[in-house]
Amino acid sequence: MSGTAISARAAELREAFDRSFAAPPRPDEGAAEDLLAIRIGGDPYAVRLSEIAGVHTDRKIVRVPGAPAALLGIAGFRGAIVPVYGTRDLLGDPGPAGRWLMLAAAAPIALSFELFEHHLRVPAGAVKPQEAGGERRFVRELVRTHSFVRPILHLAAIVAAVTPRPATASREER
């Protein structure tokens, strides 16, 4: 790409940015799903934006003595101390933790992942339930994109899995 092409690219970006503010508010595009495309252990996944309270990077994680392997430590978010879990460990594929963190909406829990790819807005019809026989842990649905099919992590299930439950429930689970 030559310098002229780079300049054209910059002009295009600038024009798109200006146009976004100049355009009138768009009508509701109907039912659409906002997802984040991420990578865990090199595998593509998707996460519903509605299940996330925020995305952060490079937070200092303080390890907790005696913690389970999946609990990477604790980190501070806007004055709150939140436990950080390794999603990879939770998915049963142990490995080094990623620099990306997402805060679950359901509970004050942060999950680390390796790579944030991009924002994904798909029509509601693109999300399909996972077929029988292809079950993965914490995955119940799949989203079809241009190139391939991404499993959608069910953060509520992950939160439920890592959140301590009442005693009765624990006993029932046992």
Binding site: M1, R9, A16, D34
Partner: protein, 490 residues
Amino acid sequence: MFSNWTISRRLIAGFGLAGLTLLLIALISYRNADNLIENDGWVEHTQRVRTALADFLSQVKDGETGQRGYLITGTDEYLAPYQAALATIGATLDELRSLTSDNPRQQKRLAAIAAATDTKLAELKETIDLRRSQGFDAATKMVTTDRGKVTMDKIRALVAEADQEEADLLKQRGDEARASANSTMAIILWGGLAGSIAVGLIAWFIIATLSRQIGSAVAMVQSSSSELQTTANQQATGAKEQATATAEISTTINELLATSRQIAESAQRVAQNAEQTAGAARAGIGTVDLTHESITGIRRQVDQIVAHMLELGRKSQEIGGVLDIVLELAEQTNILAINATIEAAGAGESGKRFAVVADEIRKLADRVGGSAKQIRALIDDVRSAVNTTVMATETGSKAVDAGTRQFADVAAGFKQISGLVQTTTEAAREIELSTKQQSSAVEQVNVAIGSVAQASTEMETSVRQTLQTVSQLAALSTDLLRIIQPHMAI
């Protein structure tokens, strides 16, 4: 003793012996003949002495006869005998003296005879004078004294003695002559017989020995002729083969000469090519020097390119650093947009417009991130290209260094080539010169070979002549053997 004698010596000895015999006989015969002739001379001499004595006595008698006639007649005419005697008697006496000069006894007698004659002549003159002066009687008286008679008798006696002496001498010389004649006859007879026998013996001896020796020699000549004939045949064959071989050698030498000339021409062309090559090598050295300067310039350019490329890499790295900041900003913007979207969703209906803005910001951040990643990829490509270029340039620089060294080697090689080509030129010229000398030598050899061929041909002809001569010699020896020993002739 005689076996070692040569034929000439034998012939000389034989004929010499025969000749000596004949010469001896001839000498003896000559001497005897000479004796005979001398004897005959002496006999004649004696006869002349006796004749002279008779004449002398006759003249004395004539004087006495004339005296008596005059005395008787007194006529002077009767004195003619006396006068004649007076005129001749002295001469006769002188003749006798001369004839008997070698005989002292006769000389002595003649002296006595002369004295008596003088006496007689004086008596005659005296009586004649008396007759003339005194007449007959006085003269007769004088005569009767017998003085004249005595003197006359004495003269007669002396003359008789002298004649007897001469008669004795005559007899002695006749005996000697007969003895000499007999001796001569005997010598001629026996000497001739002995000489004939000696000559016959010598001839037989010479013939026998010569026949034997010449026969053996002729046999040897025949054998040698046969061998010589064989040898001459072999020589003729050899000469013919030599002539053929010489012709082949001449042909080969002609081919060699042509080859030498071709080599000389080739050497000349090689020398010319070597000179052209030397010129090309010198031009090549100049070109190599120019190329060396160009390579040095290229090396400087390459060094500058390396420096520029390294600078470009460094700038690219700096751009990469700036781009990392851009990427990080885009990422953070994206995060903020996402979080804003989340927060807007939580704000309910009032947050929808904010959500739109946040979404646009997120999209922009996405695009910026994508563009930054593309630029990052481009920068990486540029850095990779710069690294590759630097490496390639360094490789090129090393190649230029190697090329420089190789060009130095090439230049040295060109100089060495130039030197070698110079050596080659000199060598080619020497080869050309040597080949020309060789050609000249080969031409001389060719001429010599031609002479040898001619000599071979002449030798062949000569050998043929020799063969012919040997055949003639063999025939001659056979003829000779037939002549000297018919029973041995083949």
